[in-house]
C-alpha cells in the first residue's frame, strides 16, 4: 500500500491523528465490550489504527511529494488499493459461495464447528460479494472516473484513503461478526448496529469528497457516469439508514433489535433489498459501464437522450418495485400490485440502458471480437438486458407464485451478479490496471481470454442449473394427483435438486477459477509497471490541494 507516498507532511500528521483516534475508539470498544463480538471488533479497530500510526509515523519526515508533480497527476493510489481490496474480497466471497454451494450437495462435509455452518457462511458470501467485491470496485472506479470526467484531481489526498480503509473495516466487521453469530438477520443488511453507524460516517465522507471534487471540475457538464455514481451514493445512504434503524440492547454489546416489526419490517426490508440491487448493483455499475465501455471501444455513447431517459427512469421506477418480493404474502394487496406494475415498467429504462451500451459498440464489433476486455463489457450489457427482462417477468404475480422461494430467484440474482456486475467489474479492471501500470496490455493477455471463457461458461452453467432447479421445485410443490392430494412431499423436491446443486457448484468453481486468474494477472501487471505517459491523462488545470 503506497499510502504515505502521495501525502504531504501535514497530511501525514492528520492521518496519524485519525489513525490514533481509530485506535482509541477500538480500545474503548474492546475494553467496555460485554460480548466477544464487540471485543473482537474493537481489537480489530485498535490493531488497524496502530498499524496505520506506525505506517505513517515511520515515514513522517521522509521527503513529501514534489508539489508540481503532485498537482499535475490524478490521484490513483486509492484506486489501486481499492482494486486490490476488490480482488481480495472476490476471493473471500467467491470461495465462501462455492463452498456453501458444495455443502448443499455434500451436507455431511460441514465441519462440526459453529463458525463454518452454512447459515453463518452464507451471509459471508453475500456481504463479501456485494459489499466487499462490488462496493470496493465501485468506490475504486468512481475515484478513477470522477477525476477523468472532471479533468480534476480529487479534492484532497487523505479522505479517499479514509473512505476506503473505513469501508473495508465495515466489511471485515460484518463478516467476522456473522462467523461469531452476530447478525441482524435482515438479508443483505446483516451487520450489527455499530458497523451500520460506522458505514454512515464513511459514506458521508465519501459523498462530501465526491461533491468537493465535482466542484473543482474543469468540464462544465457532469458526465453521465457521475450521475449514476451519485445516485448510488445518495440512495444507498437513504436505504441503509432507514432499514437499519435499531435499538441496541446495550451500548456495550453487539445485539440490537430493529425498530420495524412484522409487515412494516417486511416492506422496508424489501424496499431496501431490491434497491440494494437497484442502486448498489445496478446504478453504480451503470456508471462504470458508461465510462469504461466507451473508453475501451473508442466510441462515444450512442445516444445522450437515451441516457437521460434511462437514468431518470431507473432512479424513479426502481424504488417502487421492492414489494414484488412479497406477492401473496400478508402485505396489503395494493402494495404488491404497485410493485408488480412498476417492475414491468422498469423494463423500459433498463433496456434503454442496455441498448444504449450495445449500440455504442456499433462500428467497433471488430474490437469486440478481438479484445476479451471489451467482450467482458459487451457480455455484461447483454446479461444486464437479460436479467432485467427476467426480473420484470418474475415480478408478475402469477409467475412469482411459481418462482418465489425457489432456486429460480437464486439463478436470477446470479445472472445479474455473475453475468452483469462481475463482468463489468472485470472489464473495468482490465481497462484500468494496464493504464495504471503504464502498459499497453495486461502482463498475460492470453489469460484474459481464458478468464473470459471461464466466466461466461461458469455463469451459463450456474444460471441454467438454477432455472431447472427452480422450475422443478415450483412445479413439484404445486402438483396435485388425481385424488386431489399433493403429489410430492417437500423432501422429494429436495432430492430432485441434487444434480442441479452439483452443477451449480461446478459453475461457481469455474467462475472462481477465472477470478483467481484475474487476480494473478493483475499482480503480474502491476509488478511490471512502467513510468506512465501523462500527456493525455492528467487534470486540465493544475490545482493545489485544499
Amino acid at each position: 500500500m503506497n499510502l504515505p507516498a502521495s501525502l504531504t507532511t501535514s497530511e501525514r500528521q492528520i492521518g496519524i491523528g485519525l489513525s490514533a483516534a481509530l485506535a482509541l475508539m477500538g480500545l474503548a470498544m474492546a475494553a467496555l465490550a460485554r460480548d466477544s463480538v464487540m471485543a473482537l471488533h474493537g481489537t480489530m479497530a485498535l490493531v488497524l489504527g496502530l498499524g496505520l500510526v506506525f505506517r505513517l509515523g515511520g515515514v513522517l519526515y521522509d521527503a513529501p511529494p514534489a508539489d508540481p508533480d503532485r498537482v499535475l497527476r490524478y490521484d490513483d493510489g486509492p484506486t489501486r488499493f481499492g482494486i486490490w481490496m476488490t480482488l481480495a474480497w472476490a476471493m473471500v466471497g467467491m470461495v465462501a459461495g462455492v463452498w456453501v454451494a458444495a455443502l448443499l450437495y455434500w451436507p455431511e462435509a460441514t465441519p462440526p464447528w459453529p463458525a463454518t455452518s452454512f447459515g453463518r457462511l452464507r451471509p459471508v458470501h453475500t456481504t463479501g460479494i456485494i459489499f466487499g467485491f462490488g462496493g470496493n470496485a465501485l468506490i475504486a472506479t468512481s475515484f478513477w472516473v470522477l477525476q477523468r470526467t472532471s479533468r480534476a484531481r480529487l479534492a484532497d489526498a487523505l479522505s479517499p484513503w479514509v473512505v476506503l480503509i473505513g469501508y473495508n473495516l465495515f466489511c471485515a466487521w460484518a463478516v467476522t461478526g456473522y462467523l461469531m453469530g452476530a447478525t441482524q438477520s435482515k438479508e443483505y443488511a446483516e451487520a450489527e448496529w455499530y458497523a451500520d453507524l460506522w458505514l454512515v460516517a464513511v459514506w458521508v465522507l465519501y459523498f462530501t469528497l465526491y461533491m468537493r471534487t465535482l466542484a473543482r471540475r474543469a468540464e462544465p457538464h457532469i458526465y453521465v457516469a457521475n450521475w449514476y455514481y451519485l445516485a448510488f451514493i445518495l440512495v444507498v445512504a437513504m436505504l441503509h439508514i432507514v432499514n437499519n434503524i435499531a435499538l441496541p440492547v446495550s451500548w456495550a454489546g453487539s445485539k440490537s433489535y430493529t425498530v420495524w416489526a412484522g409487515v412494516q419490517d417486511a416492506m422496508i426490508q424489501w424496499w431496501y433489498g431490491h434497491n440494494a440491487v437497484a442502486f448498489f448493483l445496478t446504478a453504480g455499475f451503470l456508471g462504470m459501464l458508461y465510462y469504461f465501455l466507451p473508453v475501451r471501444a473508442g466510441r462515444p455513447i450512442w445516444s445522450y437522450r437515451l441516457s437521460i431517459l434511462s437514468f431518470w427512469g431507473i432512479v424513479f421506477f426502481y424504488i417502487w418495485v421492492g414489494s414484488h418480493h412479497l406477492h401473496y404474502t400478508a402485505l396489503p394487496y395494493w402494495v404488491q400490485t404497485l410493485g408488480m406494475t412498476f417492475s414491468v415498467m422498469l423494463l423500459v429504462p433498463s433496456w434503454a440502458s442496455a441498448g444504449n451500451a450495445i449500440a455504442t459498440l456499433n462500428g467497433a464489433w471488430g474490437k469486440v471480437r478481438d479484445d476479451a476486455t471489451l467482450r467482458f463489457m459487451f457480455v455484461a450489457a447483454v446479461f444486464y438486458g437479460l436479467s432485467t427482462f427476467e426480473g420484470s417477468f418474475l415480478a408478475i404475480r402469477p409467475v412469482n407464485s411459481l418462482s418465489h422461494y425457489t432456486d429460480w430467484t437464486v439463478g436470477h440474482v446470479h445472472s445479474g451478479t455473475l453475468g452483469w456486475v462481475a463482468m463489468i467489474i472485470f472489464g473495468a479492471i482490465y481497462t484500468l490496471v494496464p493504464q495504471m501500470a503504464g502498459r499497453e496490455t495486461m502482463a498475460w493477455p492470453k489469460a484474459v481470454e481464458w478468464h473470459f471463457w471461464l466466466a461466461v461458461l461458469g455463469t451459463l452453467v450456474y444460471v441454467i442449473a438454477m432455472w431447472n432447479a427452480g422450475i422443478t421445485q415450483g412445479l413439484m410443490w404445486r402438483a396435485y394427483d388425481a385424488n386431489g392430494a399433493l403429489s410430492y412431499s417437500f423432501l422429494e423436491s429436495v432430492q430432485a435438486m441434487a444434480p442441479y446443486y452439483l452443477l451449480r457448484a461446478m459453475g461457481g468453481a469455474m467462475f472462481l477459477t477465472g477470478a483467481v486468474i484475474c487476480t494473478l494477472n493483475c499482480r503480474a501487471t502491476l509488478r511490471a509497471s512502467r513510468s506512465r505517459d501523462l500527456q493525455n491523462d492528467r487534470p486540465l488545470v493544475a490545482q493545489a490541494a485544499e
Partner: protein
C-alpha cells in the same frame, strides 16, 4: 425544452443531488408511509402473545445460525401452500416480530405452522443430526446446541423489546432468566411464577429431554414448537378452508 432543462441541470451538482433524492423518494413514501397506519389497518388479535424468554432465546439462536436463509415463515395464500403447511399467514401474526423472519427461500420447508407438528424428541434428534432422522435431508447438523444456554442477556432483550412496544411488563423483564429455566423444567420451583407471568398457554416441557439442565437446544425447540401458536387468528379466520 426538457432537454434544455436537463442540459442546465447537468452543470449543477447540487441540482442533480436534489433531483435524485426527490425522484428516489416518491415510491418509498407512497408504499411505506401508509403501513404506519398499521394500528388501524392490522388488528392485533386479542389472543396474540409475545414469545416467552426461553422462546425468544431460541429465536435469537435461529437468527444466529442463519436458519432464515433456507426456511421461510410465511405461508402464501395459494391452495398448495395451505394444503402443505396450513392456514396462510396473516400480517397480525408477526406484529411482535423484530425483525420479521418471513424469509425469501425454501431450501427447506416453510416453518410458520411448525409448532406441535413434531415431538420434542424428533426436533432434538433432527437438529443434532438431520440425516439420522431424515436420511435424504441436506440440512446441516447443529451438535453444539447442546451447550448451556446463556440467559444473562434475556432481561435486557425483553426490556428493549418492551421499549419497542411489546407487552412485556416489569415482572416479566425482572424474571426473564428464572422463567427461561422454569419453562424447560416442568414441576420445578419456578413453575408457579412462570405461569403467573406468562399465563397458561406457553408449553412447559423438558424440551431437550433433560429437565436438570438448560441448553440452547431447549431454547430452539421451545421456539420451534411456538411457531404458529402465538395466536389462533389465522386458523379461526380460515375455518373450513384449512385442513
Amino acid at each position: 425544452m426538457v432537454l434544455r432543462l436537463h442540459y442546465n441541470l447537468e452543470k449543477l451538482s447540487m441540482g442533480l443531488v436534489g433531483a435524485i433524492i426527490l425522484a428516489a423518494s416518491v415510491g418509498g413514501l407512497v408504499e411505506i408511509a401508509p403501513l404506519f397506519t398499521i394500528d388501524e389497518t392490522v388488528e392485533i388479535p386479542a389472543d396474540l402473545r409475545p414469545l416467552t424468554p426461553l422462546e425468544l432465546a431460541g429465536r435469537e439462536i435461529y437468527m444466529r445460525e442463519g436458519c432464515y436463509a433456507c426456511h421461510s415463515q410465511m405461508v402464501r395464500s395459494l391452495a398448495d401452500e395451505i394444503d402443505r403447511y396450513g392456514p396462510y399467514s396473516l400480517a397480525s401474526e408477526s406484529a411482535y416480530d423484530h425483525p420479521m423472519l418471513w424469509g425469501s427461500k425454501r431450501t427447506g420447508p416453510d416453518l410458520a405452522r411448525l409448532g406441535g407438528k413434531y415431538s420434542d424428541a424428533w426436533q432434538v434428534a433432527h437438529l443434532t443430526d438431520p440425516r439420522a432422522v431424515v436420511p435424504a435431508s441436506i440440512m446441516p447438523a447443529y451438535p453444539w446446541l447442546m451447550q448451556p444456554l446463556d440467559t444473562s442477556g434475556l432481561p435486557g432483550a425483553l426490556a428493549t423489546l418492551a421499549r419497542l412496544g411489546l407487552p412485556y411488563d416489569e415482572a416479566m423483564i425482572a424474571g426473564a432468566e428464572a422463567d427461561a429455566r422454569a419453562q424447560a423444567a416442568p414441576d420445578g420451583a419456578g413453575t408457579d411464577a412462570f405461569r403467573e407471568r406468562h399465563g397458561d398457554r406457553p408449553v412447559q416441557r423438558a424440551f431437550d429431554g433433560d429437565p436438570s439442565r438448560l441448553t440452547e437446544m431447549d431454547a430452539v425447540v421451545a421456539y420451534l414448537q411456538s411457531l404458529g401458536t402465538q395466536t389462533e387468528a389465522a386458523r379461526l379466520a380460515q375455518e373450513g378452508t384449512a385442513p
